[in-house]
Amino acid sequence: MRVAVLLSLGLVCSLATAATGDWPMAAHDHAGTRYSPLTEITQANVARLTLAWSFSTGTSKGQEGAPIVADGTMFVVTPFPDRVIAFDVTRPGAHVKWTFEPKPDPHAQGVACCDVVNRGAAYDQGRVFLATLDDQVLALDAASGKELWRTSLGEAASGQSITAAPLVVKGKVVIGNDGAEFGVRGFIAALDAATGREAWRAYSTGPDADVRIGRAFVPVREAERGADLGVSTWPPGAWQIGGGAEGGWISYDPQLDLLYHGTGGPAPRNALQRAGDNKWTATLFARRPDSGDAVWAYQLTPHDRHGYGAGNESVLVDLPLHGRDRKVLLHADRNGYVYAMDRASGELLSADPFVAVTTSHGVDAATGALRDDKSKDPQLSRLVREVCPASAGAKNWQPAAWSPRTRLLYVPHQNLCEDTAVFETSHIAGTPYLGAESKMHAAPGEPLGGFFAWDPVARRKAWSLRERFPVWGGALATAGDVVFYGTMDGWLKAVDALHGRELWKFKAASGIVGQPVSYLGGDGHQYVAVLAGVGGWAGLVVSNDLDTRDATAARGFAGAMKDLPSATNRGGMLYVFRLP
């Protein structure tokens, strides 16, 4: 009885969040839908959407953050130096309430693999939580911007950084580290929201005790059975510098009381130096938020040869499948497949390619095994051509959105293949641990970028759009059946959620790699906000001013992006739109 009351209370609370028109976390809700229930902006009127206000972030690196909105305030986190700006959105015109400078260690810029980005803050009960590039997690008083606590989760000198947006679950701030490219051992940690004290930490590699695989863990597939697989699936000791660090997205189901997150790719990239499955890198985990204990796991890409990892977001949706309602987890992975899992049991429901894939030939439905194409195995002194998807993945960090109205998943992504070669590399703490070089290019017959709507019941694309550059920012779906996304050449676009028809677009001052959000302003009107400012891994050629004559620059992204410098320029800017 008490459990039932608590459960329904939880449900009411999560519904209440949506009803107020706030956007309190990067993904809008714990299910990771990026769906706004606001209905003022519709397909019929979105063409009249107009700029309400804008604000320079004062920084020029990739603006991958989501502005979050709660309690009449918008909180924006800039790229390094991770400045937090709070705006009063109850009154017209971007009144700045406070600004907070966390002053991260500038040395951390050297261990940020993919630009010095920050993906946003999280709001909970009058507090704002964020992480800084130099591995600190902070809590601020939402009203005053006063620092409440800060906890260091590691040392930048070891190669570790944090760029993720935290998720607050049951009084805990949950976040993972970055640095797989530097041989950092990945983890996800939970801190007490009131004090910052570390409650638990679960590593991506190593003994079961470190991975928090214990009595609660239920192996679903044969490959998940056995003790200390995080040790035995590596050459001796290699798990200690084995990567799996990629502070990706975290989602949470309050009814099942399960957290979902994916671990990053293994280190070094040169797979010849790490024989074995390399567990638990490139793995989806379900965990208990109170203890961090793993309940199920599924390694999507065992012995990841191409640096994919599984850090992309998992979106939690309820779907009618095979005649019954299933609690489903949808995950569009870098390896090129959209996975649908039963999120209670960890059972694989389907895995379908969403781009042309050459590195594998599908997923075995019975065993869950990815059928690797052996011709794409790395070999010393041999160039491996047409590796598709490239190491940047068919989709990278850029989060998809889900509309419960259309039951479609809106996926920003890229069409990239690469030529790649490996060489032996040594681990020097704080320096890259790769042993591989790449040159990426557009997949044959495709533009670099794309945006599509995935029907998870029919297991096919409902529609798809072509974009000149990778669509490196997030998607936003609204109850007005309008879907928003930004492009690296600076367009914020609104399209018809059912057919993909373009309804409106706005040209921003710089390329967009941020996450559009929607909220209810103090005037009772619906707003759409997005950060522009090109950067991120795909945008490094501009944000770090790279020399694109070297196609291996930006870990192989520069060759594919050589036209970007002529299409856009640096500069962080917040844009907020409304109907006139």
């Binding site: 500038p106 040395h107 951390a108 810029q109 050297g110 261990v111 940020a112 693999c113 993919c114 630009d115 000198a157 490219e181 002194s381 160039l383 030529d419 790649t420 070669a421 060489f423 590399t425 040594s426 020097i428 704080g430 320096t431 890259p432 641990y433 790769l434 070089e437 790449s438 040159k439 490094l540 770090n544 001013d545 790279l546 020399d547 694109t548 004559r549 070297d550 196609a551 291996t552 620059a553 930006a554 870990r555 520069a558 050589k562 036209d563 410098p565 002529s566």
Partner: protein, 183 residues
């Protein structure tokens, strides 16, 4: 042939041959550079305060550094890869670290500047390799880094390596000036 003419021809021959000699020179008779006081102090854990790299620049000026020698440049290229410079700076085009093949230098492009950058690190992300890279090798890496933007003589700079080719081999490179940037 007059004697004046002969000596002019000899001078010409010498002028052509001399750089070639430096290109191929191997110095086996030379003792390894003795560690300077600063490095010694480092090893003892007592690092004297003072402007970094001064001694290094003086040594570079004193000729303890060569970038017209093919062997040293190819060694530098090898160490550039071994010490993971390539992971951040790629084959000069950059990545998480800045490009080294263009004409923009945040901390200077003299051999001494680059040596100091490698050994002491820089505040915006460049780690210190002191204690990780022997000084001799750091000088060779510095010379190679200069060759990435065409600052080292082309007749000594390395040819393309047995790796995934990123662009022009070093011996063909020229500094990328701001006005050369793709528009």
């Amino acid at each position: 042939m007059s004697s004046a003419c002969r000596s002019a021809a000899a001078a010409l021959l010498l002028a052509v041959a001399l750089p070639g000699c430096e290109r191929e020179a191997r110095r086996f008779d030379r003792m390894p550079t003795p560690p300077d006081e600063r490095a010694q102090a480092d090893a003892l854990g007592a690092r004297p305060a003072g402007p970094p790299g001064r001694g290094m620049r003086e040594r570079a000026a004193a000729g303890d550094y060569r970038e017209d020698n093919a062997y040293l440049l190819s060694q530098g290229k090898m160490y550039y890869r071994w010490f993971n410079c390539v992971g951040c700076h790629a084959q000069g085009g950059g990545g998480s670290g800045p490009a080294l093949s263009d004409a923009s230098w945040a901390y200077g492009h003299s051999p001494g500047d680059i040596f100091t950058t490698i050994m002491d690190g820089r505040p915006n992300g460049m780690p210190s390799f002191r204690g990780r890279i022997p000084e001799e090798q750091a000088w060779e890496i510095a010379a190679y880094v200069r060759s990435l933007s065409g600052l080292a003589p082309g007749d000594a700079a390395t040819n393309r390596g047995d790796v995934l080719s990123g662009g022009q081999p070093e011996y063909l490179r020229e500094p990328l000036r701001p006005q050369d940037k793709p528009k």
